[in-house]
Structures are given as structure tokens and as C-alpha cells.
Symmetry: C2
Subunit: 353 residues, 2 copies
């Protein structure tokens, strides 16, 4: 299997080291070869090539079975023009791989329950929401511009969706729900937006093919409340790029352990892009405080979705779960036996064996 | 003072009765005449006139010093076309009054602290956030459409802002912060959107006129996390129509008492539109369970912002605060001496005297 690794910026580089250790351990345990190549991406690529997603990085990514990404961005590149920023590279990467389906599980680990900002009576039996976010359409990729007008400027962005784009992401959500609690909540703003009205219509159509999966609809403002009020009502949340950005971050924060959350971006075949939900955290870069578990769990998602290695994926998840139960923590996870980034990577490898 | 009253649909009608009782009590106490006229608006106007915002309602609103609104909408009107729905009336009302500044305070009442879904250690010294939401621009009012394409449809909406629109809402936020903790957090998605980049630039410019007010910027996805992680970092949140819709509902829910939260929509002179943050709650309409306090506190905002009657406004707030301290509750507020909608209205009047 060919894996392109993009450590990126800030703590991205640090957590990726640990994820690769774990990948190595899996490789040995299962006697499977992974062909791993690292490329520059994000701020470090801007420094070297003047662009966040250089041609040679793109070529490598397009030839791989999976791309593993750390995190990009930092204050150093914040003042660049929109199309020259690390974030523009991220959008270009997603688009060039055509990974339109972003899966973001927000899970409350049993041993980290106390880390959640929510009261126990609200958490009830935990929190296990999968946000399925459309990733290559919507206002992120729509027509945009800024023009001089009589007084100052006018700037615009376009939210837009086609039937096809909505259909394919809806299928992903319904299929995912089939392996879970069989419930999809589709989120839109259909009381105002035309794109949301089309979204709702198409999702209703697609749902007919999944009579075993329950479907309901929520407006995005209501969903942002319901997530806090009663998160256990949710199984799979299906939504657009922009709403998914906001709601998946909200859902992550409800677990209290954003340093634990992986994500997968898929396009229907086996190719995928895997990255932690957290960012490059320039404030703690270099301090060895970064939690590598989100990236390590992203490796697990890669093994499952791109390589069909479900046992290996579950091994990693079990290792993480067990070491948490035994009290090992990075500083972001609260009290326990505190490990630094490297030590945590080593610990996962140890539990894996 | 001329007040146009739009009870609307569902519990809107019920809570408005109580709010008018309180307005009457204020009128007697302060010997001030209010000229109050009721008009149809929302679903009930659709039933009667085929449109949510009939001409005669509009004419009355445009001639008033303030408009007091209950809530609109319900399942009965959910399947109508976009431009015929109660929500379209709400947008048309806001636009025709030109009330571009929506102020939504999310406050945790001391006696209702336990109602918050957040843990005590997160709430620390409570929660007192004012969301200043741009209300007559952005994607709610941008160009939109749906067109037939080769396969299915393509639907789009346009987010757009001008320098002028951003300047005027920014001034409102900075001025509000001056009377509070002197901190503005402006929320955008400037790492992606052109409209957000203009937003950030203009807010930075305007902030120079308020050197006594601290300004910081957050991306909307991050803000949706920060609100949960550490809500006491916020004083005034300044944001666009769409982001404000989502974030103000999230902030409201953090108080656990959305039935308590009023809002004011202003346009820079004294004219304003006042309404509770909650909706028409068709599920409890007719059961006498609705909490009228959000609408009653909206009357207080009206007295303060439109009529400069700050003492009367504070009288209402004190009455509400005192009766909560004494244990009176509507069912949504949890345990206590439970009152129905009417009894709660009467209780506020009693405490006012
Ligand atoms: C960095 C940014 C462009 C990105 C996004 O909004 O997609 C990030 O917030 C994410 O959610 O992956
Ligand atoms: C009903 C809807 C159109 C409205 C909005 O989104 O503005 C509501 O959610 C609100 O926040 O006042």
C-alpha cells in the first residue's frame, strides 16, 4: 500500500512521528508492507515552494492509496492572501483527491467522561455521534469575489449544491447509519436557503432506498442547540460543508477531548485522506505536550476504510482504550499519569504488542 | 408611543397576552400611554390573507415606534414554497423596518444556574454574552435560485456584505461593549470566505475608533467550540446573519433557559423590533405551559432602547429576578413553584407593583 504522509506545520509534525511509529508496529505485527513517503504541505510548503500544495506533493497524493495528514497553518502565514494560505492548500488537496465525504466521529471515551463540559445527566449513556460532512462543494468552493463599489467594497461567496453532490454524500451517511444506530439527522436551513431546500428534497429521495434507517431533519440553528441539550438523540448527522465545519467542531468539543478525534475523507472507492480533527496548535508546538492519539486513531480509520484491515484498526483502538483505562494521559486530557507526545506514541506501540 | 403588536402563531399568542399585561402595568405605574394595535403576522396572516406579512400589517409597523413580536411558524405552513412561508414574513419584516442589528443577550440567571447543561467548573462566574448579529444582509438576503441541469438541479444562495453594512453593525457592537466588559470578539471564516475577509478588515478599521474596547477575531468553527469550552471569555460577539443565527442559539442553549431570553433588533435610531429568542413551539401551544418571560423581558428591552425608559425596564428585570429567587417557575425552568403561562404573567405584574 502506498501512503503519502503530509506532516504539515506546528504540532502536525510531532504527532505524525508517533502515528508512523504505530503504523510501523502494525506493519510488523501483520507482516504487511506500507510504502510511506513524506511530502511538504501547508505552511512549510509555502516557505519552500511559495505554495501550500506543490505539484510534486499533488502528484504523490494522486498516486497513493491513502494520504495521512498532520495539521497545517500558523500565525506566520495568516496574513497571506486567501489563495496562498495553508488553508487554501487543504481545500485544493481535498478537491484534487475528490474526497467529498468527511466522516468525523465524536465519541466520549468512557475513561474520559469527566472531561466533557456537559453535566452527567445530559450525557446519560455517553456520546457517540458521527458527523458526515460534505467536503468538496458548497460555499467553500463556490464562486467568490470582492469588488470596489461607490463606498468601499462588496464581497461575496456562493453556496451551491447539485442533486448529484447531495445524493452521493447522502448515500454515505445512510450506509454509515446502517452499521450504527440506524438514524440520520439531516441538517440544513431549508426555511431560508434554496440550496438547503434542494438538499432536503434529495435527502428525502435517497432515504427511500434505506427504509431500515430513520431520517429526520433539523435546521442548523436548532441543531446547534440540540447537540448541547440532548446529544444522545443523534446517531449520524448529515450536512453541508459549512454547517458540518461548525457542527462537527461543536460536537468534538462536547467530548472534551478534541485531541482524541480522528477523521476520514472519502470518495466512494477505497482512496482516502486521514487527519486529526484538531489543528496545528502553534501555541504548544515544540513543547512536547501535543496529544498524538487523534492522528494515531486516524491511522486506524485509514487501515479500516482504505486497506480493509479491520482487525488492525481495532487493535489500535483497543490499545488506546486500554492505556486510557490504565490512567495514561497527555496534558490536554486532565489528571492521570502524564506522558509527553513521544512517550504516548511509545505507549500505544507497547499496548499494541 | 405607538406599538404594533404581532402575536403570531402557536405560543406566540399566549406569551404576548402576558407581555401586554406587564406593559399595561408599566403604563399605570409610570402614567405613560402606549398606543397598542394588534396585527396579523406569520402563519395566521397566511391563513387570512395568503401572505405572512400583509400590506396593512406592514403599514402599521412602519408607522410605529416599536414592534413587539411573539413567534411565527408551525407544521401547518411548513410545506409552502419558500417565499410564502411564515419565515419569509419574518425576513420581510426585518428588512422593511431596516433593523440591521440584532442584539441577543445570553444570560445565566443566578437562580437558574443549575439549568445550564454545562458543568459548574466551566461556568465559573456565570455566563453573560451579548451576540450582535447582522440581521438584514448576508446569505439570508442574497441572490438565490434553483436551475434544472443535465442531471437534476443546481441550487445556490449568495453570502454578500458591503463595507457599509459591516461598519454599521460593528459600531453597534463596539458601543454595546463600552457599556459592558469592553471586549468584542468578531467571528468570521476569513481563512476561506471573501465576505469574511472584508468583514475582518472593516471591523479592524472600525475598532480604531474604540481604543478602549479590546478586539479579537475567531473563526466560526472555533467559536462554536470556545462557547462550550470557556464561555466566560466572551463579552460581545459580533458576527454575520448566518453565523449569528447559529451561535446565538448555541449561546442561548448554554444558559439552559431559552424561555427566558429576549432580543432586540435595531436600526440606529430609536425604532426597534422586539421578540423572544424562542420559537412558536407548536408542541406545547394550547397547554398553558409556555414561559412568557422571554417576551416580557423583550418588553423591557423595548422600554430601554426605543423609549429610553430605563427605570421601567429595570423594574421588569428586577421583578423577574425576584420571583425566580422566590422559587416561581414555568415548567421549562425545572423544579420550583410551578405556574402556568397566565399565572406567570400575573406574578410579574404583582412583583412590579
Ligand atoms: C482550516 C479550515 C479550512 C478547515 C475547514 O474549515 O474545513 C478546518 O476548520 C476543518 O474543519 O478541517
Ligand atoms: C425562523 C428563522 C428564519 C429565524 C432566523 O434564522 O433568522 C430564526 O431562526 C431566528 O433566529 O430568528
Amino acid at each position: 500500500y502506498k501512503i503519502t504522509v503530509l506532516p504539515g506545520d506546528g504540532i502536525g509534525k510531532e504527532v505524525m512521528e508517533e502515528a508512523l511509529k504505530v503504523l510501523n508496529a502494525v506493519s510488523e505485527k501483520y507482516s504487511i508492507e506500507f510504502e510511506v513517503e513524506k511530502y511538504l504541505f501547508g505552511g512549510c510548503a509555502i516557505d519552500e515552494f511559495g505554495t501550500p500544495y506543490p505539484k510534486e506533493t499533488e502528484e504523490a497524493c494522486l498516486k497513493s492509496d491513502a494520504v495521512l495528514l498532520g495539521a497545517v497553518g500558523g500565525p506566520k502565514w495568516d496574513d497571506l492572501d486567501g489563495d496562498k494560505r495553508p488553508e487554501a492548500g487543504l481545500l485544493a488537496l481535498r478537491k484534487s483527491l475528490d474526497v467529498y465525504a468527511n466522516l468525523r466521529p465524536a465519541i466520549l471515551f468512557n475513561s474520559l467522561k469527566s472531561a466533557s463540559p456537559l453535566k452527567d445527566e445530559i450525557l446519560k449513556d455517553g456520546l457517540d455521534v458521527l458527523v458526515v460532512r460534505e467536503l468538496t462543494g458548497g460555499i467553500y468552493f463556490g464562486d467568490r469575489g470582492t469588488e470596489k463599489i461607490d463606498y468601499g467594497y462588496k464581497a461575496y461567496d456562493t453556496e451551491s449544491y447539485t442533486t448529484m453532490e447531495i445524493e452521493r454524500i447522502a448515500h454515505i451517511a445512510f450506509k454509515a447509519a446502517r452499521n450504527r444506530k440506524k438514524k440520520v439527522t439531516s441538517v440544513d436551513k431549508a426555511n431560508i436557503l434554496d440550496s438547503s431546500r434542494l438538499w432536503r428534497k434529495v435527502v428525502n429521495e435517497v432515504s427511500k432506498e434505506y427504509p431500515d434507517v430513520e431520517l429526520n431533519h433539523q435546521y442548523v440553528d436548532n441543531c446547534s442547540m440540540q447537540l448541547i441539550k440532548d446529544p444522545s438523540q443523534f446517531d449520524v448527522i448529515l450536512t453541508s460543508n459549512m454547517f458540518g465545519d461548525i457542527l462537527s467542531d461543536e460536537a468534538s468539543q462536547l467530548t472534551g477531548s478534541i485531541g482524541m478525534l480522528p477523521s476520514a475523507s472519502l470518495r466512494g472507492d477505497k482512496v482516502g485522506l486521514y487527519e486529526p480533527v484538531h489543528g496545528s496548535a502553534p501555541d504548544i508546538a515544540g513543547t512536547k505536550k501535543a496529544n498524538p492519539l487523534a492522528t494515531i486513531l486516524s491511522v486506524a480509520m485509514m487501515l479500516e476504510y482504505s486497506f480493509d484491515m479491520i482487525d488492525a484498526a481495532n487493535d489500535i483502538r483497543k490499545a488506546v482504550n486500554d492505556l486510557l483505562e490504565d490512567g495514561y494521559r497527555t496534558p490536554d486530557l486532565g489528571k492521570g499519569i502524564i506522558l509527553n507526545t513521544e512517550e504516548m506514541g511509545d505507549m500505544v506501540v507497547k499496548y499494541l504488542k
